[in-house]
């Protein structure tokens, strides 16, 4: 093993005290002088024309400064496709869509005036599912789609409710199925749901007299906010400053553009005064975007020896009323469409489909948790039909170095050891004892497995930067454009810099408030790429600072900079370590005893930009969009009561090949958090709609997430195949924990009851109904 000082050490996270004592400051804790408060009036219909909005009464209400409706901002914005007005304009496309905003002196006055706004609607036909949306005669949710601007990487189909179609054509699908001895066909589905981050979305915006726009926001993507506002409102981009302090959970829900565009417009409407908008929990669940829904059709074939030969995949993503990140989720799901399996012949159509549901944005796993549910269930169905143990089947078909991804990209030497992950998980869950065991006449214990893979879905030029400055005591200030979203990257970055200088981690001070005017550019804190990219930049910045330290120190030490080494707070001769100089005498420039000074302060600069990435061929999907792959295996053990479908999840285990562990404890916690979130999604979550497609569980009284006390025993193990181009050999692991859980849970429960459970969430009643269904 490498002889590191702080890499691989579980140092306590930098923000542990603030987070555990409740002293962390969030956006809603800020109340600058002159602050005004905004509240949103939302749609009571899922698809309707807005006939009129009467604001006359509300305008007279106490403390109200301004009321704005869609008529005030007849523009459409978007992340990848400009399809969404800041406030509903002429029509509403989902239940909960904001139709008007009130700005008042206090939050109470803003909210009190909401009920005085009268909106008159005329209902339109409702599209309640992706399959209905794709019917020939389906009404169009966006009849003006041809006028929307969109990025080249997505392919909307004009005249349909299709916001994107990404295709994969690998090998020859027809010949593939001809070679198949066993074929299964099945469909899978789950409804839209939500992230349920602890902190609801919140933004404060003001415009200074000289026109500078200052946005404080709970955002994972301050630089995207800046560039999209500049682009959409024709503002010189340097006049926009976006500040993001640590946020109370992102999970993808705070990437992209959230409340920022609207709050900028609101501040502009009141002469640039600071305006705060904080989502209520209800609005955070349904008015702001959530987790995508999906229906999938899978046809999968293997030889009688159990080798996968062909996969025909149709992924129909329910993006709801607007495209947001969902168009790219459907693209990412195509790129990774097969899951981590060696399949020579693949045909995949991954569609992003408009419906009258709340719209979707990025969610932890970004297309992968969704496709993995369909694939992992299919793998179990196929291995069952073939009569092979599902773990053995997975081992046989797991992707390894030299195999090709659906994009025909060859899995390189950085490919993690998936077969070993499977074996480890098998040991952890005791697969050998059997995957179905009768406990009593009505109780069964069963196990299910799910594999995962993920690569970041991001632009080909995704970048990161790090700037290091020094204090007089030779401690280091580390600045990046990364945002603390709960993941703990700042701690890992501090460890990387501390390792480079061979100093304790507490000598590295991370700037935890990211500010787009002072921080180096960073794409976004998303796609599990922060540690990988900013980590590489931190190494380059450290090397840059070390070179400067050596140069300055070489002058009074009368030697060549090449003879020097930096470490332990000193700069010294490599071959004669006793001869050297303390770093604190050099970091601000060296000062001779007579007062003469030389060189000046050290400023380390580091950059990283993703390497050798390209787009994909629109007809075949061939290309190189994947930076790195993280692979892993997961399994779940359940105990099911066959008399009523209720069940307990006894344990959830995971083995992931993450390369070098920078901070083992943080990595472990990140994975456990992922397992819990994946489990909560698969077990509990999903919006319930009435027949008018209104969400009936739009609060936490009725939308249930996993609670303390409901968690199983978690076990996590890591493999350490190094990522050659990662910092110290590390690769991304932020999102991956969620991915295999829905597949593993549904596989375990399906095995327990002896019938397929192909829809989420897996409620006891849905299991009871499946048990009682007559066999077809």
């Amino acid at each position: 093993m490498n002889d590191y000082n702080v890499i691989g050490v579980s140092t306590t996270r930098l923000d542990a005290k603030e987070k555990t004592t409740g002293k962390q400051i969030y956006i809603n804790d800020n109340n600058p002088p002159g602050l005004l408060h905004a509240a949103l009036k939302t749609s009571t219909h899922s698809h309707a024309l807005i006939k009129s909005i009467d604001i006359s009464l509300a305008k007279k209400s106490s403390g109200v400064q301004a009321i704005l409706t869609g008529e005030d901002f007849p523009v459409t914005l978007g992340l990848y496709m400009g399809d969404k007005p800041p406030l509903a304009y002429k029509k509403v496309r989902y239940y909960g869509e904001p139709v008007a905003a009130i700005i008042a002196n206090s939050e109470q006055e803003a909210k009190a005036a909401l009920s005085l706004i009268k909106v008159e609607y005329e209902e339109l036909p409702i599209i309640s599912s992706v399959r209905n949306a794709l019917k020939e005669d389906a009404p169009l949710i966006h009849p003006d789609m041809s006028k929307y601007k969109h990025i080249d990487a997505i392919h909307p189909e004009i005249g349909k409710n299709i916001a994107n179609r990404t295709k994969i054509r690998k090998g020859n699908i027809k010949e593939g199925f001809e070679k198949a001895d066993v074929i299964i066909e099945a469909s899978f589905s789950f409804p839209p749901s939500d992230h349920v981050a602890m902190e609801t979305r919140a933004t404060i915006t003001k415009i200074n007299p000289r026109g500078d726009i200052v946005i404080k926001s709970a955002t994972q993507a301050p630089f995207i906010v800046k560039s999209l506002l500049g682009y959409n409102f024709d503002i010189p981009i340097g006049k926009i400053n976006v500040e993001s302090s640590p946020i109370g959970g992102g999970f993808g829900g705070k990437a992209g553009l959230q409340l920022e565009a609207l709050v900028y417009l609101l501040s502009r409407a009141v002469g640039g005064r600071p305006v705060k908008l904080v989502n209520t929990r209800e609005q955070d669940l349904i008015s702001s975007p959530g987790h995508i829904g999906m229906e999938a059709d899978v046809r999968l074939g293997c030889t009688k020896e159990g080798n996968l030969v062909a996969a025909e995949l149709t992924y129909l993503f329910d993006c709801g009323a607007y495209a947001d990140y969902a168009v790219n989720i459907s693209r990412a799901a195509a790129i990774s469409s097969t899951g981590p399996y060696r399949i020579p012949n693949v045909s995949c159509d991954s569609l992003c489909v408009y419906t009258n549901h709340p719209f979707a944005t990025a969610f932890r796993g970004f297309g992968h948790i969704e496709l993995a549910f369909a694939i992992e269930r299919s793998i179990d169905l196929l291995s069952e039909k073939l009569g092979m143990d599902s773990m053995e089947f997975r081992l046989k078909n797991a992707i390894v170095e030299g195999d090709t991804a659906p994009t025909l990209n060859v899995m390189d030497a950085n490919t993690g050891d998936l077969p070993e992950c499977i074996r480890r998980v098998g040991t952890m869950i005791n697969w050998e004892e059997g995957s179905k065991i009768e406990v009593s006449p009505n109780k069964v214990r069963a196990k299910g497995m799910g594999l995962l893979w993920k690569s970041p879905a991001m632009p080909t030029n995704t970048d990161a930067g790090v700037i290091l400055t020094f204090n007089e005591d030779a401690s280091i200030n580390l600045q990046t454009g990364i945002v603390e979203i709960g993941q703990g990257t700042f701690t890992a970055l501090a460890q990387i810099v501390a390792e480079k200088f061979k100093i304790p981690v507490d000598k590295v001070h991370v700037v935890e408030d990211t500010n787009t005017k002072t921080a180096p550019h960073d794409w976004a804190t998303a796609a599990s790429r922060s540690l990988m990219m900013a980590g590489r930049a931190a190494i380059e910045a450290s090397d840059d600072a070390i070179a400067q330290l050596k140069r300055t120190a070489s002058i009074p030490l009368h030697c060549s900079p090449e003879d020097l080494e930096v470490g332990y707070g000193r700069i010294f001769l490599k071959d004669e370590p006793k001869i050297g100089i303390d770093m604190e005498k050099v970091v601000m420039g060296y000062v001779y005893p007579n007062g003469n000074a030389i060189e000046g302060q050290v400023i380390g600069r580091g950059r990283y930009i993703s390497r050798r990435l390209s787009g994909i061929n629109p007809e075949t999907g061939e290309g190189q969009p994947e930076l790195e792959w993280t692979l892993g295996a997961q399994a779940i053990e359940v105990e099911v009561d066959l008399s009523d479908g209720s069940y307990n999840v006894l344990q959830a285990v995971c083995c992931m090949d993450v390369g070098t562990l920078i901070n083992p404890k943080l990595a472990h916690e990140q994975i456990v958090g992922g397992l819990a979130m994946g489990l909560s999604f698969a077990r509990n979550e999903g919006f319930l709609f009435n027949n008018r497609e209104q969400v009936i569980n739009d609060d936490l009284r009725s939308y249930k997430i996993l609670r303390y006390g409901e968690h199983p025993k978690y076990q996590v193990e890591f493999l350490n195949t190094p990522q050659g181009d990662g910092p110290f050999g590390a690769r991304g692991l932020g999102e991956q924990g969620v991915i295999g859980m829905p597949g593993a849970l549904s596989n375990a429960l399906s095995r327990a009851i002896g019938k397929p459970l192909n829809a989420l969430p897996l409620t006891p009643e849905s299991i009871w109904k499946t048990i009682k269904e007559e066999d077809k």
């Binding site: 009523d644 249930k704 609670r707 006390g709 006891p764």
Partner: protein, 279 residues
């Protein structure tokens, strides 16, 4: 945030409560009694409840009584569920209260609020119904102490301005065999989709239910069948369910079929538990 203003009163004597009620009522403010506030606050926040005045009854010493008096266990309506649970004066009562809401909420949610509130579960009433307890009600027309089964019909039948002061059960019930089975849709912190509370006294089973139907109930007719040992165990359950005074509920938590299946299962477990009958 509650977007509307309302007046808040916290009287310290019963007379003061009555006077405050009459006063606010005559001003047309439609006052409501306030226990722990867990329902009023959450509903007011969502504007599904609007009031101009609330009268907090927790400052009345009578509402905080938690003790045995002359062979009766007395529970003040202003006690939090946690206070009752932790006292453990009546084990079945504690057992039924413990799954209501979550710990933080139970520290605020009061006995009176759970029984008299708007939410249709009112699980705190179940042990009192089967224990044939009494309620002390106070209002502009005075004070009355009555058998709970005469004034509870799916809801507590309060006169205008009347509020629940205390509930009482005979101490002897604490040694009676009991049974309780609560089922949720999935997570434990949720409303019951079926909740059955049963007590066996003098060889007879008494049963009360919440969650299975739109409102909670106890049914003497159902009990007559469940206690009819001339029938088979299966029949006792089937006939009792046929006589439910309200239909099975169906909502986003569960279908009526699933509720029926869970109730049948719970009743089988009840017979096994209280009579050693294996169905």
């Amino acid at each position: 945030m509650i977007p509307f203003d309302f007046q808040y009163y916290r009287p310290t004597t019963i007379q003061e409560v009555i006077n405050t009620f009459n006063d606010l009522d005559s001003q047309g403010l439609s006052p409501i009694y306030y226990g722990g506030g867990t329902e009023i606050i959450t509903m007011a926040r969502k504007e599904s409840l609007s009031t101009k005045a609330v009268i907090d009854i927790k400052a009345l010493p009578e509402t905080k009584v938690l003790e045995e008096v002359k062979g009766e266990l007395v529970f003040g309506a202003g006690l939090s569920l946690s206070e009752i649970i932790e006292s453990n004066l009546f084990t079945l009562f504690s057992k039924v209260l413990r799954p209501i809401a979550d710990h933080t909420v139970r520290n605020k949610l009061t006995l009176g609020g759970n029984i008299c509130g708007r939410l249709p579960y009112r699980e705190a009433i179940l042990p009192l119904l089967v224990a044939d307890g009494k309620v002390v009600l106070v209002g502009p027309e005075g004070r009355r102490e009555v058998d709970i089964n005469t004034v509870f019909d799916k809801r507590l039948l309060l006169k205008k301005g009347e509020f629940l002061l205390q509930v009482k059960v005979n101490k002897s019930v604490i040694s009676s065999p009991y049974f309780n089975r609560r089922k949720e849709k999935q997570t434990l912190v949720d409303y019951p989709i079926t909740n059955i509370v049963a007590l066996k006294e003098g060889g007879k089973i008494k049963m009360a239910f919440s969650g299975v139907a739109p409102l909670p109930f106890r049914s003497i007719e159902m009990e007559s069948f469940i206690n009819n040992k001339e029938l088979s165990s299966e029949e006792r359950i089937t006939k009792a369910i046929e006589l439910m005074p309200l239909p099975f509920k169906k909502d986003h938590l569960a279908s009526d079929d699933y509720r029926r299946a869970l109730l049948e299962k719970s009743m089988k477990e009840m017979l096994a538990n209280l009579e050693g009958v294996i169905v």
